[in-house]
Point group: C2
Chain length 558, copies 2
């Protein structure tokens, strides 16, 4: 039996005009700002008008630690959303936007897979509605205004060696990682070292995704620390007077994008911050808007639950006043086998023992998630090669952990395959049993926050940090930043900081290499390992084969 | 008497849904890709479907050399378009898009002025439909792929000292004019000098504006020379295999944008290449599409007629097979007075003598334009301070030059004020008297092309160029580029290369500083003077005061 590729399925989609998708949520066509016939932004006026509505139920989809087998977190998010609609619930999906640049390195990512996808796939992987371009522009304006301030006399006394604000571009361009700028003489400014990150790593991206409205956006932009003086006192974006113009550049981008699933159900696709140096979730405004107009909102967090769900709950939910009513933890039989030591090439053969062994990773995530007070359902994202005995092994293990696992076949059958999962998730969400709380309080000292996550989520023995790093955290506490949450940047492949340690490692330490203050976004980034904020292109980038075919369709992007 | 500002008038506009504007030209709403409710792109499918139609009449609006008094070329273009519609003609306007970056330096430009404007003004000065962002992305992809090629072994043997392709950003950022990139060690590549231009200076912009369709676009992108080897042989974009992916990134941007005038008449706003190192006209595809669906198309060229109209005719018309049926030369009484030696502060007082003296500039443009075989009408763009005697002086002078001048009051009265101009222009266009031909043949040697323009248009005595420059032109001729037109880059303020020489200078020389080959765009750039391809921000950039007001409107942009 042969299966169609994601792009083949996506191209066969019977898309409805976006106005009809909006109508399912009660959005009038005048409140939708169309971008072509199948994409729209929801107007700020409409968002303001629904603030008095009751909130729907919030369902978070997260996953075990990623393996090369692929877990299908977005696929399950979309499949569950379609499943909820199938059983008669008014449900919407909220996911992140894709970054343009990386698609020219490796083939682009579909939003979901099989019969659980969001469309239009090509546009979502290219310019979409221009949000990331707006973020690049706003970031670039601040960059230019900082050097312009220095050029015209540096009234704020910025130490040119301590400009913290780098530049960004939405392209994988390793040549720009480190540069010397302002060369060429007097009229070009004062030479200094700087560099470019990819746009999704911009603090502006994190800010856009955490801002609750336009005035909050401007306030947060103003709070960005762009540089320091010789006395180490910070210079803010507000001091440079860039916050107003940046807000103007981001005005349209703040409005969530509405598209549709293959089954013509509403999907909000908005924002896409890095999941390491930022919190890795779609925008707060998309989630809060969806909650006002849908009865069930299915959203996802980046990477595995140790990083993504932890940040979703400790950062996004804390800051936005959100509380998940149910958490869906995605696992696959194949990923369990890889966690149990099976190589990717051998995944085809039944291996119940390996499944059982690999379940330790799953079990730890279940326990971690429960520690936030939320009910957890495991979704076994079905692959056609899974055997009944393997699936049963996962179910039995999850039951032994006091939770339940449900097989879901949305990839192959769309909402027909996710009906059981949707039914159970709706029951749990409706039951009101969730008792969500972040796992640390705002007033806990910063280093203790790091220790809390390391010990309770990563199950590490200790956190190792130089005196310099601990001192830095203390300085920020003295400056009034001690109440911020911490944003952990570590490998997504393991609970530990060693990407090869699958399963549920114990006895490990978490070394902190660096800490960074994202004062506008409102978190302290804790870097534990190598974090790449500007990817490079591979030897044979996908771009070499991306082209339009004779029918005007895009080839090579997927 | 006090007058409303452009932005006040624009905000009072009774805009129609863009589908109703399209309907005026027979475009079905399915063939319009909306961007919000007041902007749309015309689909490629629709463009293909109208190729069999007869062409309408093409009217070029150009101007005398710009003065600080302002001539109102775009205002007249819009006013004439509205005037033609008023007298019952099916007319459309074609103008350029604005660049985002410069708006944050000085206040942004309206598209037109008074009661002759194109709206929505804010969006047109910000992200609009994302065309310039797409150009930045396509340019950036090629930049990244060149350094990536070098990084992975440099199979094409690019001389890293001779990479011709710079980077771009749509922001005034002087700090990026000259940089050293690829610093930081082995994993970041080979350090080399490079720099950024502003996006409108990208050859990709010029290419998009000259390409006739998507396959021509890809062919031209492939033709870009990105670098040279040690033996000086060129390396093309096609060799880097970036042309296909760049075309994919530009697919949507190639579709012309439709907006409306204050009087709800159709306006195409598409493309915006520099008017010095490029040809400075809106896209060929917008003009050719408009000609297929409107009976009269009013378009404009950058700067004064010596630069803008010359390039419109010798480059754009030559390449796209276009021929103007009438040329409108915009002049103002105020500009005539400045050309006649009056300072800006003294423009308020009647001064017929100065008008008479300044008319020499106008007269030379009339003669130049006629040398292309086209009929010329002078539009006197009325200012409320102009006296009857001053206006009559211009009319008399123009009559003495064998042409006619018509007073037009579109700024104050909209189409009611431009009815007379529209009536006369339509008569001339309909008469078929235009005998358009470029002023040099394709097969003329490159240096002779420069001399032809300098002597016949600038009325210079000679062109001065080093042997090195003459040799370079010969090498390009040997390589097969001798049939290209030349694209002059000189000051727009004078017929000469000295911006202070107003009027109609004689006895001057044109020194050529540098020549550049834009092999993809298809012209040789001849640089005569300082050309800035990356502007800087002023001491107090407009960005400092740009912000959203309490009603969500943008303040400080205009």
């Amino acid at each position: 039996m042969s299966y169609k590729t994601d792009i083949e399925i996506a191209r066969e989609a019977n898309k409805l005009p976006i106005q009809e998708i909006g109508a399912k949520l009660g959005i009038d066509s005048k409140d939708l700002l169309p971008y072509g016939h199948d994409k729209a932004k929801v107007s700020q006026e409409y968002i303001n008008s629904v603030q008095g509505n009751e909130n729907g139920k919030l369902i978070l989809v997260t996953a075990i630690n990623p393996t090369p087998a692929g877990e299908g977190k977005t696929t399950t998010t979309v499949g569950l959303g379609d499943g909820l609609n199938r059983i008669g619930k008014k449900a919407a999906v909220c996911i992140r936007e894709a970054s343009l640049g990386p698609n020219f390195g490796m083939k682009g990512g579909a939003a979901g897979g099989g019969y659980a996808q969001v469309v239009p796939m090509e546009e979502m992987n290219l310019h979409f509605t221009g949000d990331f371009h707006a973020i690049t522009s706003a970031h670039s304006l601040l960059s230019a205004m900082i050097d312009n301030h220095i050029y015209w006399g540096n009234e704020l006394e910025i130490d040119v060696r301590r400009v913290a604000w780098r530049r960004v571009v939405d392209m994988n361009d390793r040549a720009l990682r480190q540069i010397t700028a302002s060369l060429g003489g007097v009229s070009n400014g004062f030479p200094r070292e700087t560099g470019f990150d990819i746009t999704v790593a911009s603090e502006v991206m994190a800010i856009l995704c955490l801002a609750t409205n336009l005035s909050d956006l401007q306030k947060r932009l103003g709070d960005i620390i762009v540089a320091y003086r010789r006395d180490r006192s910070p210079v803010f974006c507000r001091d440079i007077q860039a916050d107003g113009a940046m807000t103007v550049l981001l005005k349209d981008a703040m409005q969530p994008n509405l598209v549709q699933t293959l089954e013509n159900n509403p999907a909000f696709v908005h924002g896409g911050p890095f999941a390491n140096i930022a919190h890795g979730c779609n925008s707060v405004i998309a989630t809060t808007t969806a909650l006002k107009i849908a009865d069930y909102v299915v959203t996802e967090a980046g990477f595995g639950a140790d990083l993504g769900a932890e940040k979703f709950m400790n950062i996004k939910c804390r800051k936005a006043g959100l509380a998940p009513d149910c958490v869906v933890l995605v696992a696959t039989v194949r990923a369990m086998k890889m966690n149990g030591g099976v190589a990717k090439a051998d995944l085809g053969a039944e291996n119940v023992d390996a499944v059982n062994e690999g379940c330790a990773n799953l079990g730890r995530h279940i326990g971690n998630l429960k520690s936030f007070g939320v009910p957890v359902v495991v979704a076994i994202n079905h692959f056609v090669t899974d055997t009944d005995a393997e699936v049963q092994a996962v179910k039995d293990y999850v039951a032994s952990q006091g939770s339940e696992a449900i097989l879901s076949q949305h990839w192959e059958h769309g909402s027909k395959g996710s009906e059981a999962l949707a039914t159970r998730v709706a029951e749990i969400a409706d039951s009101g049993i969730s008792q969500f709380a972040p796992i640390y309080e705002d007033d806990m000292p910063l280093f203790e926050k790091v220790e809390t996550i390391a010990k309770r989520i990563y199950h590490a023995d200790e956190v190792i940090a130089d005196k310099k790093i601990r001192d830095q955290l203390k300085i920020w506490e003295e400056q009034g930043y001690g109440n911020l949450p911490v944003c952990m940047a570590k490998t997504q492949y393991s609970f530990s900081t060693d990407p090869t340690q699958r399963g549920a490692p114990v006895g490990h330490s978490v070394p902190v290499r660096e800490v960074r203050l994202s004062a506008g976004a409102g978190f302290i980034v804790v870097v534990c390992g190598d974090i790449m904020t500007m990817p490079g292109l591979p030897r044979n980038p996908a771009a070499k084969t991306i082209q339009l075919n004779d029918d005007g369709q895009i080839e090579g992007l997927f």
